[in-house]
Amino acid sequence: MRIRPLLLVLATLACRGGGSAPQRNALVDSRDTYDPRSLDPALSTDVPTGRAVSYVFDGLTRFTPEARVEPGLAERWEVSPDGLTYTFHLRRGVTFHNGEPFTSRHVVGTFQRALDPATKGGRAEPLAPIKGSADFAGGRAKSVSGLAAPNDSTVVITLSEPLASFPKLLAMPVASIVPDSTPADFGQRPIGTGPWKFVEWRHDDYLKFAKNTEYWGGAAATDTLIARIIPEPSTAVAEFEAGNVDILLIPQGETAAWEETDEKKALLQSAPALILYYVAINATRGPLKDVRVRQAINHAVDTRTILRQLMGGRGYLARGVIPPILEGADTTRARFAYDAAKAKELLTAAGHPNGVDVELWHSQDPTIARLSQTVQGYLNAAGIRTKLVQRDASSAREAARKGETDMTLKTWYADYPDADSFLYPLLYSGSKGPGGNVSFYASTAFDKLVRASRREQDDAKRAAIYRSADSLAYLDAPMVPLFFYNDLYGVQPWIRDFKVPTIFNGQRWTDVKIVGPEQANP
């Protein structure tokens, strides 16, 4: 008889929660897998930080979920015919969360602070194009000569050389505008002008934000936003299935399980991500100096099968480094066909009838490791004897940047949605090593095109230059571009107006709402 109350309790507990709409007025994100570095924009180098910064702060410009650039704190801007001077007209009547009115002074102050070595940010790269930034960062000047605030609502920025994608750089987290006073714990309790006010940060646990009712762009549709930090993807899936989190990044390994179950499939949303999977070929090492060997490597790998079988088709075959959704992409370019015989022919022509020996480095990431093993199999079959070297991500990255690896299989995440964010870091000769070009590719013709593209103010003309630069590098084969990844999200049925962002800081949750059970389960 004593067992019955217990059963009753258990039964009551079992009815809690469930797949119905939650009783909360808080949006819960599950994407962060580690604690943000800091919430100070000047220290932003990682995705969790960048996302949180995009909630609390505004930049002069910002990205839409579709990765278009749109006005932020700058209402509009003009660029001089020579492409050197940008005049930003600032939004009036904007205040920081502490009530401080936003003016041009904050823009100048923010950029100087980010560049100032005393801030120890180290990630002011997006501001480097501003004239005088290097002198200021190096302590050779008291201020940044290219920054001027002629009146409260105007900022004039002069660049050291033209850069057509500059407005996009200003939408990056490091360029987010901070108030006058940034005390030592600013990274722990940030104050910005953004749609969400910072409330609480429990390290390795969650971040909490409340809607900014005064937001110039209109208050967010939901009161509270919580970004939970969940290191294990399987746990995030469990939290989603228990209804505790509203969106979920589907782990690569679970793609098929979600796509093949009807009720789960109904919750899926997908968008192309600006992520390239590729094998960097160090064009300065041994037999890899010969373009024919590098082309042979491209011919030897069946990327189409890899994408379909290994990645569950979650991506778009690459034929260059520019993702199809960006200006300058060429979706019709002829790819290096999968042809082992052709690969052997090229090797023989390059003077290696008995094949070559190379190392392929990769990190421990399960997807990267599996891809590497498969690529190794294809290369071996074509006479390119490949030894795999697995290291932790930090060691693998360091070795590649020092030019100590023949080949490295890795990913590249765009910082801003522009072809320049692929061409310049990955292949420009000035970006060798830590700049991102771990192929150590150096082509005068390519460099010339990249420089020309940065100067070109006409969008169509610039896209054409991007396309030729991409073609040129593709044929020089300093890498095997594998595919561009697709992000796949699970979105709870009670969530409305969430758009999967193409770039990491392109979704600020302002329009997203939670609807009642009737609407959630029609």
């Binding site: 180098t45 990274g187 390795d204 469990a238």
Partner: protein, 306 residues
């Protein structure tokens, strides 16, 4: 007793110094560059050189070590390269959570494990003994992350009795403590059983029974106390490991403890964070060992320290 304590504490100093040196050397020779982790995927050579200078990473190793050890002696574990926060504050925020999880797992393991052990020792070969042997094999062999995921799937996703992960009220503690403690439950049950069997077969137990004492009194008051020493050893060792290494459990249950902090620090090559937490955990480990030794004396008056 006091002199024993003093001696043990003094002996810990060279041990901890050794830990400090070994960790420092290991990190010095290990591949991976902290500055490259700080600046992210793209950086220019000038910034990297400046940061290396500021962090004194270009100094000779003995200068770097002297600088660091000097700080440690003054009680300063430095600040994180990545977050800029003081290491000590980071540890102070996370260690209580690790301690809570480890203690809960240990208490759970002690209660369940010892009870099962004593019960199976009373009827060796009985159904409970055989069942617990089977369960113990499973408990010892299943890796903790697998147990953890099963617990989440069953209790949180299917039954929805408990939250899958996170930190908060007591319901958040149940599953991770169970996952973490499962191995200890199994191990303690077996150790308690064999220790009890040995004691129950000894002559003083026969005498106690001959005196006409109730069986309950014999088992609990006479036999159990004498069977405790190996049990304390297991408890102490496991507790030390839980305090220093519940990394997998903390990861699977999104528990914001020190284990995850260390792993993150290692993957980002955050040298001060790694060194500081390893040193701190060594202190904890040494302290737990000392407490275990003291517990021996408490359990068995024949063990005395001077």
């Amino acid at each position: 007793m006091a002199s024993f304590l003093l001696r043990r504490v003094l002996l810990a100093v060279p041990t901890l110094f050794g830990v400090l040196v070994v960790v420092f050397l290991l990190l010095y020779v290990a591949p991976g560059d902290p500055v490259q982790e700080m600046v992210g995927e793209r950086a220019d050579a000038e910034t990297i050189a400046r940061l290396r200078r500021e962090l004194r990473l270009d100094d000779p190793i003995h200068v770097q070590f002297g600088h660091y050890a000097g700080g440690v002696i003054r009680g300063d574990l430095g600040t994180s390269y990545i977050t800029g926060r003081p290491i000590l504050a980071d540890i102070a925020e996370r260690f209580p959570k690790t301690l809570l999880l480890a203690s809960s797992a240990m208490v759970l393991a002690a209660i369940v494990g010892i009870t099962i052990g004593v019960a199976s020792a009373r009827r060796p070969g009985g159904w409970l003994d055989r069942l617990s042997l089977g369960a113990a094999y499973l408990g010892i062999s299943f890796p903790v992350y697998w147990v953890g995921l099963l617990l989440i799937l069953f209790f949180a996703v299917t039954l929805r009795w408990l939250p899958p992960s996170g930190y908060g009220r007591v319901e958040f503690l149940v599953l991770p403590a169970l996952a973490l403690g499962s191995r200890s439950i199994a191990f303690l049950a077996r150790v308690t059983r064999s220790s009890m069997l040995e004691v129950l077969g000894s002559e003083f137990v026969r005498t106690a029974r001959a005196k006409g004492l109730a069986e309950r009194g014999v088992v609990v008051r006479h036999a159990f106390r004498n069977a405790l020493i190996p049990v304390i050893t297991v408890l102490g060792l496991d507790f030390g490991y839980y305090l220093t290494g519940s990394i997998l459990t903390e990861t699977i249950f999104s528990w914001p403890g020190l284990g995850r902090y260390v792993v993150n620090a290692i993957s980002r090559r955050d040298l001060p964070a790694i060194q500081g937490s390893v040193l701190f955990l060594s202190v904890v480990f040494v302290a737990v060992n000392l407490l275990t030794d003291l517990a021996y004396a408490k359990a068995d008056p024949r063990v005395a320290y001077e």
